[in-house]
Amino acid sequence: MNATTTTTTTATTASTREHAVTTAVPARPAVRPGAASPAALVALEVRKSLSTRSGKALAGVSVLLAPAAGVIASAASEEPLGSVTGPIGTMAMLTALVLMSLGVLSTAGEWTHRTVQTTFLLSPRRGRVLAAKAVAVALLGAAFAALSTALTAGVIALMEDGVSWDGAGRAVATAIASGAAFAVTGAGVGAALTNTPAALTGLYLVILGVLPVVRTFKPEVGSRLDPAEAVLALAQGDAIGRSVLILAGWTVVALVAGAVVTRRRAVA
């Protein structure tokens, strides 16, 4: 396979032949002998998520939607705000719902565009790929949620007087953690359904449609399942244990379902 080992009978033709061959066929590139490291796989998944227009758009929206909504709400409202934890929690929920799509695209998007073929050809250990995707969208989700929350806090600081910043640290931590949790949940559900429209419609229908309806009939059931409500509660320091459990439950169940399907599904 080495292009430069061509043997010829005379020295003069050898040099011309070698030159011709190496021009036409470059020497073999340096190839990593083993599998990609976990860090390299995570970095690759981060790049993939941000290399498409939809990924870039979602990243932008996730960062800017909450502060933009904050500006509008603040300008429209005459009421004094009281505590920042409520608004930061609401904006964290909004941002997390956007970041869920980023997670869905990282897994289901690969099946929908069939790029999963290339991904698994180059990294056949599918469990490692899904783990890398989960870590990648968790990092992206946390980072974008942190940026978004910082901007939202800035908006509140600039536009509102006399608000209480008590508990703001916990609210910010909730925003960052829920950004990561929702993104990973999206990745897990996307991997389980292997279809972008199905995963997006299913998730938003359940979280924004089914659970609010359930809550009107059976509030105690709704509040034990609803991840959006858990974000609001956690940001304000209510029902901390239960809220953490709800968010962790969604994340783990989605990831396990995604892992089961990812491991078995044929790439046809």
Partner: protein, 289 residues
Amino acid sequence: MITVSGLTKQYGDRTVVDDVSFTLEPGTVTGFLGPNGAGKSTTMRMMTGLVPATSGTALVDGRPYAELPNPGAVVGTLLDASAVHPGRTGRAHLRLMAAAAGVPASRADEVLALVGLADAARRRIGGYSLGMRQRLGIAGALLTDPPVLVFDEPANGLDPEGIRWMRDLLRGHAARGGTVLLSSHLLGEVEHTVDRLLVIGQGRIVADGSVASLLGAEGTTVRAAEPAALAAALQAAGFTVQRGDDGALVVPGADPAAVGAVAAAGGHALVDLRPVSRDLEDLFFSLTA
């Protein structure tokens, strides 16, 4: 080396690949030939771990594809040229692949130039023609310059010039000691590219051999005003003569000029003299009918 043994895929009651076995040797181009739906793609997907096999094994250098430390360094695969994100540029697509396969990002530009897509590198793949996507897929398979190439219908969408280019590429790869498996449902596409043919029909290998052995030796068909006299003269000159349809004589392994010389020497009047080669198409239908 690739060793496939007893590879079988069943979907419910339907057997799409049935006990397929073959070995691919370095330095050869093997044509994997069969009609659409014969099981070519499924076999290739089982070989590369994308589709789990119902039974049987496919080993690359002695291990299943998925257990190779870095499979992209060993096997360059082109299965479905449309399996790309249309929103990425050709260059972005290959740079991501380069990172996954563990080659420098600069390889992306090298292979783009190699397949003639340097000018389209910064355009979104969504705007590529089918032939350009096929070239992009080939570029991806060549990123690591792997010893083994597995191409499923690579000629799809390529123009005649592109098919010739691909033929030279694959022949050159085999000449450097590489192993190539190339599938096609069109016989003409592979006939001049491959050393060996694996013919698959309804999931089973129906023929496996060199192109020459499967197509039979070439020869000459000749018609004379007096066939019996010419046949005797040819046999006297040491040729084997077979009676063909309606009085034609078939002389396997003979050059038309040699047959013509015998006829001229004996003063035989000829009606028709031409080379015969058993058509790949005929072979195919006789095997898969």
